[in-house]
Amino acid sequence: MSEIFTAAAVVLVLTMAAGLVRVVVGPTPADRMMGVQLIGTTGIAVLLLLGFAFEMPALADVALVFALLAAVSVTALTRRRVGQDRS
Amino acid sequence: MTIAWRLLGFCGLWLIFTGWNPGSWMIGVPSVLLATWAYGQLVGDSRAPSAARTLGFVLFFLRESVRAGVDVASRILRPRMRISPGFQTYRMRLADPSARVLFIDSISLLPGTLSADLVHREEIRVHALDATLDLAPELADLERRVGRLFGEELTKEKHGHV
């Protein structure tokens, strides 16, 4: 079974690498952030698959941190503009 | 009564995080108390849905998310993508704050729709991949289900298409 999980992880890492195109070309920071979110979500799946392939349940905790992190970085990015700068 | 349920819920959450490990409760008890207090500060009183209704909604939700994924995949995979994006406005009638949050979040996971903005506390601007369809009936159905989950009966007529 662990071969299947590893193979799926390889496929997912390839799609993550393809999604990096959106982080590099943009055009807006929001698009880049969406690319980062995609990496986060796919990374969770990769971590879980690796955790089952290597029989290391501790990797599920890393996946949990990834899930929380996506929320933090999106909230940090979507702050509303405050009055002081460029109207 | 609600406090007890929240305490129980956060204890369960801690159990999921750490597994069956008695030593972990040294940090667990303060964390659970803090989380219960913070939850009470952030969320006002809101009726808790019953177990049977929650199960029904979860089943509906799973079916809809599979439909949504297949829908979006079939649109993307065509060589010429079948999309005509645009915005529509929907007037929300739910009153319960938790129900409103659940409704707005579920719209984004429904086939072809994405909640984009909330204006004047009741008008939701919904972005659709295919804006030529009228979204109001489907949204009204979802709203009725969310309302029923929180014990709020919405009548079937005059769903608020603006």
Binding site: M1, I4, F5, A8, V11, L12, T15, A18, G19, V21, R22, T28, P29, A30, D31, M33, M34, G35, Q37, L38, T41, I44, A45, L48, L49, F52, A60, A63, L64, A67, L68, A70, A71, V74, T75, L77, T78, R79, R80, R81 | L15, I16, G19, S65, G69, V72, I76, P85, D105, S108, L109, P111, G112, L114, S115, A116, D117, R125, H127, L129
Partner: protein, 100 residues
């Protein structure tokens, strides 16, 4: 029995990987920000859900299985809320550093 379980698991994980690939393709291919958000939220949530459903039977203890389900719920919550926030700021044009 074992074979059946393995087949079901294989199918679920494979379908999950397919939806992740579609989500990535959509993110690269779709024309504007809002459409890309559609691909991001829906395809990825379904992909992760399918992968987790495929992994569930192999979880060593029930706590791990519950943790996997919790991860899925968290991702759905943060995905839906994050896409709402991004769409709202982009629509109103008042995000501090979203569009420029």
């Amino acid at each position: 029995m074992e074979i059946l379980l393995e087949t079901v698991s294989l199918l679920l994980v494979g379908a999950g990987a397919f939806f992740f690939a579609v989500g990535t393709l959509g993110l690269v291919r779709l024309p504007d920000l809002f459409c890309r958000l559609h691909a991001l939220t829906k395809a990825d949530n379904l992909g992760l859900g399918l992968v987790i459903a495929g992994l569930l039977p192999w979880a060593a203890d029930p706590f791990l299985a519950l943790k996997l389900v919790l991860i899925w719920l968290l991702v759905m919550l943060s995905g839906a809320t994050g896409s709402y926030l991004i769409a709202k700021r982009a629509l109103r044009g008042d995000g501090e550093d979203l569009l420029e």
